[in-house]
Symmetry: C4
Subunit: 188 residues, 4 copies
């Protein structure tokens, strides 16, 4: 269920990149410029794809610890999926208007919500002995939970920055790999 | 088969939320208002997603009881899937025109049909000894069947209410969690 | 592979039903008529969904006999999938213009090609001892092959009839369940 | 994960074939010509589908050798998937403007990137003893790596040729089956 929806959401991200449709007679002249102007859209597409891929991998990894699913965990997952499924929409809007505050903010808030639900998800598991395969996993899940706060933290930072400069705020996600390098070393 | 189609239908629901496409030069001014006006669309998207998620979970649960599949069960499932696949379409129309009777009615009728086919599905299984893994399941399937009438009942109520006020009729689905709480306690 | 592509093709069939987009101010007046005019589109959608579901089930069933896959069988399957993936496109065109010969013919030819490749697929398996789990299956596969000629036969009949009356030719597929009833009794 | 994304990307290729939408009153007259003009789009669709199917099969085959996945292999796969997911977009653009250099070049470059990442993928595995199930596979993976350079080689050739004649450069992919016949005989 979770796997399928992640895969489909990641693939339909591409439908948000609007193919230019100039008249055939003018295509030779205007198409190069129009394709060149797609680069912000493709950049946001790549960012969104990588963030979703990251969530997917973490979701996969973390599920190794889980033995049973309770009703609350199920609903956390369903709300996680709703916010994941909205990503192709908010990526589309932000890709079309990377200089407009409200469009970019929509994207940051969507990432923020996915990230917060995912962190809450880990928090719930790390506190629920009865869901876990072995009690020894509680400590590592707790570490995972603290590490998982990185993405919502960065999305919040980007959201704040978007009030200053919408386009630049999208670049904030580029610090994820570097930040992750340090955060993966957290050992509380 | 069933799983894949549910996952895809739930994900392409998002394609029904039409991203606003104002001219770049006017986007700064008009986009906030246009995004604000998307809230009914997003509300209906969330409702449809949750209802489909609920059907999916129930379908999954109920299949644990089923040992063999007969030809009639197969065709019930295919007609269930046709009506599920139409949900992204009717959600799209109702999300675009939440104040127009015929658009909202289309959505209610689609949910009603999915719900009725699903109930009939449970009814057929609960009566077909040869399909079940153990005869002891017949009673619990019978309870599930009675509980499953909740969604088509609410959709019918919403359909009737839509003749009075289309927009308000969409709020009827908000009573599902509360109604489910009581219905899950049915024990005939 | 085959399963996923069938499921996705069947689900995106719904994207071919164009949701009407009248101006909000006129929606109340014109939407009922526009939704009413969608019925041919929804009819063709249901036909295409059922035909694809039928191919899927037959493909599934027939794979129980197959032990190994040779290179030719692989390519037959890939060409089968190409023609399956085109069905949402040809269904879309035929649904938009059910009275135009060339649109309806495109649909019939697409179904015809899917059907012929599928029959060739069965023919190849039924003749290839080395692919089968047990030699005893060859006879039942041969029967399946003869039964599988029904769909391309009906598509050919519909294609011919479409030159007389395009709309009526779409109704030819309604005879499938009755024809299947007799064909399933073939025992050569 | 990989399987699902390949299947979805291959299926949504069809969404790039724009169904003609003439006025109902003119459809009888103009639709035949418009459908006839779709042939380049359908040709590129088939090419893209077959290339993706080929990558998919090779990815599948090669994964039999892999026992563990390291972090670099994971990221190679994620970048492979990003470039695969972009194929429906670049196929759409090239299909709409098969005579415009920049549109066709976009397609060739996309295929080139998918091909190069896939070759690098094989190169990484063939050099990483710790990932393989048995050391004996290293030689066969090395052969696979050399064979895998065929597709990026052909895409590069097509990209160069597109500066001379965009439409003709798309035909270069037709030599793949013949080239593959010889390349499959490589035994270093």
């Amino acid at each position: 269920m979770v796997d399928g929806i992640f895969a489909i959401a990641m693939t339909i991200l591409v439908l948000g990149i609007t193919p230019p449709k100039p008249e055939i007679s003018q295509a030779q002249a205007v198409l190069p410029g129009q394709i060149f102007h797609l680069f912000p859209e493709i950049f946001i597409f790549v960012i969104a794809f990588l963030i979703l891929a990251g969530f997917w991998l973490d979701h996969h990894r973390q599920f190794h610890f889980v033995g049973t699913i309770d009703s609350r965990l199920l609903w956390i997952n369903i709300f996680l999926l709703i916010s994941v499924v909205l990503i192709p929409f908010s990526t589309d809007v932000a890709g079309d208007y990377p200089e407009v505050l409200v469009a970019v903010l929509l994207f940051h808030i969507n990432i923020l919500i996915v990230g917060l639900i995912f962190s809450y998800h880990l928090h719930h598991i790390s506190r629920s002995e009865h869901l876990l395969e072995s009690q020894a996993d509680m400590k590592s899940l707790n570490i995972l939970f603290h590490q998982s706060l990185l993405i919502p933290g960065i999305a919040l930072l980007a959201a704040i920055l978007s009030f200053v400069n919408p386009s630049v705020s999208l670049l904030v996600y580029l610090i994820i790999p570097f930040a992750k390098y340090f955060v993966d070393r957290i050992d509380i």
